[in-house]
Amino acid sequence: MDFRDTPEEAAFREELRAWLAAHAPAGPPADPDERAAFLHGWHRALASAGYTGLAFPAEYGGRGLAPTYEAILNDELGAGGHPPPPAIGHITNAVRIFGTAAQKSRHLPVMLACTERWCQGFSEPEAGSDLAAVRTRATREGDAYTVVGHKIWTSEALWSHWCLLLCRTEPGREAHRGLSMLLVPLDTPGVECRPIVTASGTREFAEVFFDGARVPAAHLLGEPGQGWEIAMRLLGYERGPADIGWVARLSRMLTLLENDIRDGSVAAGPSAREAVARAWVSLRTLQLHVRRTLSARLDGSLPGPEGSVDKLLLTEADQLLNHVVMDVRGAAALVEEDAALDAYFWSRAQSVFGGTRQIQHDIVARRVLGLPDGRASR
């Protein structure tokens, strides 16, 4: 056991700090669309400097480093108050694990370069927590699938080039057994994205409609009927707080609040200071737990149901931190709405997206603690 950086990790950290000192952008713009464009630019800058795909093989545009480097990236970005890295760990790993050689060499380098952005078409109006109830249908006709259906809550769809689509391809096979995963270019005729404006004004979510869109069969990821397995594997990464940059995002918020208290621009009495320390303990627990999770991958093993523990720790830390930020900063974000309110709304979404808090508890209870599935017995 050694939480210290190896000499190689320390060199990487130094190199990253130096790069950040020279290249970190000013704060993100207030306008939600401008902020999205700003973040995309930041992600391309990180990528071109080699700070995406740290644990990916070099042949796909990665650095071929140990998974623990993701923790270093998150810690340094967060502690420096910089914007988070791109949330691509889940989709890139799904393609890495299940893709053909051709799919990997076509997609991974541009995913990691952040020049082609992806969204995941999972949820539907009638398939939220009950994801296996997906109805969007892809019918094989010759060398192509014809897709008909309706996705919702598709993050980043408006700004994406591709969609990882969970759809029903196997008629006669029930629930999760009838699902496959397709890689769909969003400029395919018959695909339409409509934004859903969030409470804080971003157009990050969208509905995606498929009306007879034809997708080449070569864009099938994995085998027909393997969609559920791929989705679960992907969610294992999506629930990893460092895989998609959440640790960086939260530590940045805490860093900025602590800086403001230290220099006196935010007044904090004893109870506020105690609350800030409590938020730090919670976030620090998450960071240390993520190091343990990433260390467990050093032998090549893949995320399992324990990933739900990480997601729940992330949710606790996020929601506690945002309460503290809103309480300590006082009414400023209410008099002139600012990024604090946006972050607060996102913290409430944390217990909904990527599997609700209740779904995560179901997974921990049944697959980690071994409690019986009540849905089967009643």
Binding site: F3, E274, A275, V276, A277, V281, L294, S295, V368, G370
Partner: protein
């Protein structure tokens, strides 16, 4: 960076579990296996070793005074260079224990009333005199303590000296280092106690049937158990880090890490043990059942050197000091 337990650390967990499960051996067995004063003997990551042992002993609800007599006092003796006394302690021939302030929040002030912690079978208490030297004092009678697995004994303000050679003065850094080690080991004690409480309760709801089904099949019950399990896993990551940091980082960083883990484990352990009581139902609050014994142990370990609120205050003072003062 590698946060995994090593093979040696896993083996140590097994040794500690075997000793804990064999009630006949007690202190002699612990000392014989080299587990008393382990943190100072084990070199690199010595506090991790001590924490893993404390966790296992707490899991088994073993009534041996490991944290006080097996870790804390030997750490003080190692810092003061009291080699003779330390050897006697490590061999199980002499048992010394720390004396705390009556509210358990910190080591006692010399010449004031105190409470000896983990004092079962102790020969004397250790206080730090104004000149930084250790002083051995005679112990008074036991308190009627809430934790039935550990003994507290009164130490009057005018407690008699026990004549023992106890080395040179402790520096401020020695004291901070010792505090970090002890906080990390207390965190481990909390975690071990709470993990067993929860594990037993989860096993119970898997079997206990109501409405014709195991009560553990109900989501309301599952989510209580899951929430506690999640808190404990996070707390375990914090505890491992603090135990590692206690010997491997500077005193200041080690203490911050230890406070972080003590806070996380205090919160998680009480929550998990209370959840266990809820999952067992009324029986857990009676003398027919051990659940409340674990809760009692957790309440005491939380209080020793400060519960989570005390840690938050200390952390805020350290992290939120005005720019330039730090």
């Amino acid at each position: 960076m590698d946060a995994r337990l090593t093979d040696e650390q896993r083996m140590l967990q097994q040794v500690a579990a075997a000793i804990a499960d064999d009630r006949s051996g007690g202190w002699t067995a612990l000392a014989g296996a080299g587990l008393v004063g382990l943190h100072a003997q084990a070199g690199t990551c010595g506090a991790v070793a001590a924490a893993l042992v404390a966790e296992r002993l707490a899991t088994a609800r073993t009534p041996v005074p490991y944290v006080g007599a097996g870790v804390w006092a030997p750490a003080l003796l190692a810092a003061s260079g009291a080699d003779e006394a330390r050897t006697a302690v490590e061999e199980g021939e002499l048992r010394l224990v720390p004396v705390l302030r009556p509210d358990l929040s910190a080591p006692a002030r010399d010449g004031e009333e105190g409470v000896a912690f983990d004092a079962e079978g102790a020969d004397a208490g250790l206080v730090i005199a104004a000149d930084g030297r250790l002083r051995a004092v005679a112990l008074g009678g036991p308190t009627r303590g809430a934790d039935l697995t550990r003994t507290l004994r009164r130490v009057p303000a005018d407690a008699a000296d026990r004549d023992l050679p106890l080395g040179g003065p402790l520096t401020a850094r020695d004291r901070v280092r010792t505090q970090a080690v002890v906080l990390a080991v207390l965190a481990a004690d909390l975690l071990g106690t709470a993990q067993r409480a929860l594990d037993d309760a989860v096993a119970h709801v898997r079997e206990r049937r109501q409405f014709g089904v195991p009560v553990g099949s109900f989501q309301a019950v599952q989510h209580l158990a899951s929430h506690a399990a999640v808190l404990l896993e996070g707390a375990r990551s914090a505890m491992w880090h603090a135990a590692w940091a206690a010997t491997e980082l500077t005193e200041d960083e080690a203490l911050l890490a230890a406070r972080q883990a003590k806070a996380a484990c205090s919160t998680a352990a009480r929550d998990a043990a209370e959840t266990a009581v809820q999952l067992f139902g009324g029986i857990a609050l009676t003398w027919e059942h051990p659940a409340h014994l674990r809760l009692r142990r957790i309440l005491l370990s939380r209080a020793v050197l400060g519960d989570e609120s005390a840690q938050y205050r200390a952390i805020a003072a350290r992290r939120l000091a005005p720019a330039g003062r730090d």
